[in-house]
Symmetry: C2
Subunit: 139 residues, 2 copies
DNA sequence: CTAAAGCTTGCCATCATGGTAAGGTCAAGC
DNA sequence: GCTTGACCTTACCATGATGGCAAGCTTTAG
């Protein structure tokens, strides 16, 4: 336990930037395995810490747990074609682009409505008016 | 029941564009009340249909159920200051802006990595390399 | 009258994340 | 050696928006 190369889940959490809660969650999803002490405590070696850090970075890029798992499998596979990694990235990039444009749509419409609302003490409001319009075509 | 002004939940769903499931959900959250037949079937009058359509449009603009509820309260309040409506919109716009910029951050970084990955049959991959870098500062 | 379509409630699932509770373990100090 | 506090374990609940399914009741069309 005083092995300087093995860390408890709390230490691993600090080092990797992934909460202990999420480490257990990723383990359940099959992303990171771990060894246990006789008492059942999880222990992480440097390689597993690296896996956690990998997860952390992929998560920061918005990858889903599922895609992170696929990325890790490719990473572990020395004969991977980088084409497959790039393809995962492309799929994720496509999803990001969709989300961004949906948000920009909302932003644009709502900004227009907000600009048209005088925002004073009177009850007249262009925003509410728009939400009441029976035009189905979503603005 | 054949009253042309009253609609069952299925009909209300079609007319408002909100699924029956979600109509019940919004009812549970206190957004839309309804009358019931003796047998317990929900019935919607034109005013309630309008509320559902309102919800639908607000949802399309990305408002959370909670904010939609606030919007509806303001709508129902004839002495509302439009300032309050505009404020809700502004808060939502701010959240949208945050989400957009987070996504753009991810997009930018990931696009760079993707561009740097040759994406061929060799295992070398700039994306995996980046996920393995021990730099904490998130790219 | 019967069958189909539609309604009811309740429970489960997603996805990422956090909280809490009840209980076991380990390390440090007396 | 025993107590205490910090840390670990599992299991369950919650979020928010949405869908699915199942068992059972109602209405409607034929």
């Amino acid at each position: 336990m005083s092995n300087t190369n093995l860390f408890t889940i709390g230490q691993a959490a600090v080092q990797s930037g992934v909460s202990a809660k999420m480490i257990r969650h990723y383990e359940e999803l099959g992303l990171v395995k771990t060894t246990r002490t006789a008492a059942g405590y999880r222990l992480y070696n440097p390689q597993q810490l690296q896996q956690l850090a990998f997860i952390r970075k992929a998560r920061d890029l918005g990858f889903s747990s599922h895609r992170i798992k696929e990325l890790m499998l490719l990473w572990q596979n020395p004969t991977r074609p980088s084409r497959e990694v790039k393809q995962l990235a492309s799929q994720h990039l496509a999803e990001i682009a969709v989300k961004i444009s949906q948000l920009q749509q909302m932003q644009q419409i709502l900004q227009q409505l907000s600009d048209a609302c005088c925002g004073d003490e009177t009850p007249d409001c262009a925003i509410l008016d728009a939400l009441l319009q029976p035009n189905n075509t979503a603005f």
